[in-house]
Amino acid sequence: MEKLLEVTHLSKKFKDTSVLNDISFDVLRGEILCFLGPNGAGKSTTIHILTAALKKDEGNILFRQKPITQHLSAYKQCLGIVPQELALYEELSAEQNLRFFASLYGLHGKKLSQAVTYALDFAGLSDRAHDKVGTFSGGMKRRLNIACAIAHRPELVIMDEPTVGIDPQSRNYILDSIRKLRSEGMTILYTTHYMEEVEAISTRILIMDHGSIIAEGTNESLKEDIENEKRYLIEVEENGKIPLEEFYSIEGVKSVEIIENTLSITSLKSVENLDRIISLFSVYHEKIKNMTTENASLETVFLKLTGRKLRD
């Protein structure tokens, strides 16, 4: 597939804090590339640099093999950006909002009207076209927020957590719409915290943490690495009675982590060792309050790569 966007050695510092450390990646034409990462991972900073709203310290960004800074206006013309916050005029109607934002991309006359009709239809708001945005529900506003970014049919749509705080119905509608945009030939760069969204729409995933890309691949290929593993989450009344070495002495156990009163034990899927693990708790008179087993999921991959420690 053709490379639509090529990002190489991108770095950014805010004062003395490095938020992006020499990251490189490509966005291929027609894909839905999802950025996953905990808070402060550098996702939004990357997005803001790609939208040319934030200056990079180092690195190159090529759009269709040309540096974006040399053809900034042409580059922006090809972009559709869905910001995390609702960027709409509440006092205006949905149609007036769309008409205004689409006209900023040089559309006028019949083309503008067609773009507005297309975007209203996309957002499922044709019947509320003339109502003030201020009277809309959260989900409707979110849909309109996306519609304002795609009315001019951009080549690359950049979405920064576009489904924050909406009901499941609106979320499903938006996810279906994103797949529809891809089928219409648009390329989508999507950031989110929600694993299920990534699993539902992504064609490729980049996982970021501490300003670096720590994993890259498809939903399936990322899971492959840990598909031969399972994880036991055992909640106990009081941690620390059992020396961790005891767990490592059990066949198949690869790692043990303690998070407050929960032990997270990663083991090979092929080895049946649960009875031996549980028996350790009996030996040390440690009472088990709850126990669950996790198989490979994107969330497991994500937590394995980024850790379970709470972030700011």
Binding site: A53, I81, L86, A87
Partner: protein, 246 residues
């Protein structure tokens, strides 16, 4: 250029639909002129003279307060977020800050012209033998005030900080410039301080036009305002940071 005018049209639309700003630039100014003129009418040879004085000084105060229209137009919460989309679009950041300056100028100028159209015949006050000169001189002053408001937003990044600082500065300069009461009879020091206030220069220029039919001060004031506006707009380009919207 088409993008710029699209943004300008939207900014004007937002301003002319804002009842608070319309009220502040018309009803509030009208009340200030009427109340101040009425309360001080005993200090002047005739009531008409009091209204003549306060029409000019309060109008200048209103024109300078137009800086707050610009801060509101630029960074008011509901407008700030859609501005982000303008930054993302090919229209670019110049359209964001300069359209706010231009829209605020056009809005304030229109409001103050309407105010004059109402008050001049009502209070029997004059704008001089050539009222057009008076009206023309208002334009660069209004534009400077709008540029000042936009510049403070670019510099301080928030509407609250920009409006508070501007409001205090304008009020202080107006007090020193003799807007509310003349400082000439209050001793040597106050009189000297007064002469340093640009508001005093504006008062002198406008009074020279309407009372003495003299344009001697109008030309330097107009040019001074235009040069200052250009510097402020250049300052906007320097201090405007798209990051503030992210």
């Amino acid at each position: 250029m088409r993008c710029f005018f699209t943004v300008l049209k939207m900014d004007l639309r937002n301003l002319f639909r804002n009842p608070v700003l319309i009220g502040y630039n018309t009803v509030f100014a009208l009340l200030l002129i009427l109340i101040m003129g009425f309360l001080t009418s005993g200090d002047y040879a005739s009531g008409k003279d009091a209204f003549q004085y306060y029409l000019v000084t309060m109008l200048i105060y209103g024109m300078l307060s137009g800086a707050m229209t610009a801060t509101n137009c630029f960074m008011e919460r509901d407008i700030r977020r859609p501005n982000l989309r303008i930054i993302f679009s090919p229209a670019g950041s110049f359209s964001v800050y300069f359209s706010k300056t231009l829209a605020s100028f056009l809005f304030d100028y229109t409001m103050h012209l309407l105010l004059l159209a109402l008050l001049c015949p009502l209070l029997h006050v004059t704008l001089g033998a050539q009222p057009l000169y008076f009206l023309l001189l208002m334009a660069p002053v209004e534009f400077t005030a709008a540029s000042l408001g936009t510049f403070f937003c670019c510099l301080l990044h928030t509407e609250e900080a920009a409006s508070t600082l501007l409001s205090m500065t304008i009020s202080l300069l107006c007090i020193l410039g003799g807007t509310f009461f003349s400082l000439n009879g209050m001793g040597h020091i106050l009189s000297m301080l007064s002469s340093f206030s640009p508001v005093k220069w504006l008062n002198d220029a406008f009074f020279a036009l309407c009372c003495d039919n003299s344009q001697a001060l109008a030309v330097p004031v107009a040019f001074g305002c235009l040069i200052f506006s250009l510097l402020l707009t250049a300052g906007c380009a320097l201090f405007f940071k798209t990051e503030d919207y992210l």
